[in-house]
Amino acid sequence: MDTLIRLLKQNARLSCKELAAMTGSTEADVEAKIKEYEHNGIIKGYSAIINDDAADKDNVTAFIEVKVTPKADCGFDDIAKTIMMYDEVESLTLMSGAFDLAVTISGTNYKEIALFVAQRLSTIDGVISTATHFFLKRYKEKGIFIEDEATDERSFVSP
């Protein structure tokens, strides 16, 4: 992966000047490259990595396995598009293996998610079955430890 993209994934708040120094490039080149990535859709936006459990005590997240019958003319895409239009859906991925679509959804309580599955998801044409798994504790998100940040046990000064 491009070093610039990797650095932005870790910390999107680095300035172009810092990124230029870090990648051994010039500020203008970095700016142009980022523009290009934004333009051709490689960079889709900028967000913070949030400890959701700490930011919002009521947050509930679930991972839902969905089995579907693909349609003859457009495969899984049609059903996927129907599902992803719901604002509650945070991520949606077509998977290999025992089920077809992986849906992550957040809400303010278990009931809200249960109702979404029962009333919205299960009723979509082509959905055969669902299995809902609730997140209990997040340990690592986007490469970052969510709770226990590793402490530096090295001594202050060593030769």
């Binding site: 910390n11 060593s158 030769p159």
Partner: protein, 389 residues
Amino acid sequence: MMDYDKILSDKCKEIKPSGIRKFFDIAANMEGVISLGVGEPDFPTPWAIRRAAITTLEKGKTIYTANAGLIQLRNSISKYLSRRINIEYDPAKEIVVTVGGSEAIDLAIRAIVNPGDEVLVVEPSFVCYKPIIELMHGVPVVIETKIEDEFRLTAEVLKSKITNKTKMLILPFPNNPTGAVMSRKDLEEIAEVLRGTSIMVLSDEIYSELTYGGRHVSIAEIDGMQERTLVVNGFSKAYAMTGWRLGYLAGPAPVIKQILKIHQFAIMCSPTISQYAAIEAMESCDGEIAKMVNEYNIRRRWLVNALNEIGLECFEPMGAFYVFPSIKSTGLTSQQFCEELLYKHHVAVVPGDAFGECGEGHIRISYAYSLKHLMEAVERISQFLKELK
């Protein structure tokens, strides 16, 4: 009453304590200190290596190994040196596995130096060479490197320091604390001076994997140099394995044979579990090294740029994980600078003179820290510099 002053050996008493001890003591008793002072990687040892150690323990492989180290490990080291540094050593006769690079340095000096022999020590450099030479009743002769020469050893300066008593040259590159490296051309010039002599080179290459402008060149690679060179290397910096205490020494068989006696009587053998883990490191972790080097390089570039921005003039280091900026513009000595920075802004860095007198006017900043940590520390240093004006 025991009079310990009379009991202790004179040589031992004469050894000066390390110049960085004082800072460690102050910093350790202070709240909210952020340090840029350490000389070890911030990465944990790669998991595959740790797994190998756990497996070794599970299998109960907790007995002594051969004095020179497990032959499988020496084979791996031999292959590694051939693969990465392009020098060939016979694992049976030319390699000893040691307790860190430190023991390798100690062994090399002890095996070579007679009382009165002069040993050339390139400075600024790691703190252990001079005391060990002195313990052997040898005479350390300092060769100062200068920022004008990018802290490299030049043939001219080397020539001027050689006498008929010169026994050994200590060549510590990539360098701690300056981050300087020696190019093939630099080394060829040094070799030209040494080839006609019987001077041995102790080439401390512990940072050999951490270079940022092309691969490390060992002086042992240069024509006619392998027979007069002892290569010190180890696992601490390349594989983030400082606490495992494992290094090695490679050199001509007649020297290694003698060195092995000292190692055998003093140490017996290096830790067995570390040795098994090290085989895994050498056989499967080239990719891990690349990842860490890439990360250090990003930090290095950021830090050099940031320090120059805040007004600390910085020579661009091409090796190890240190920068060695000049603080002369502040009018403070290295010691004063470091003390004030620690007291006023709670940032610990190491005064340059801890690595030899010619390090005066500089400080050593380590970038074996996360970017986040470096950014916070540089912000504080910047504040400190503004207050000095």
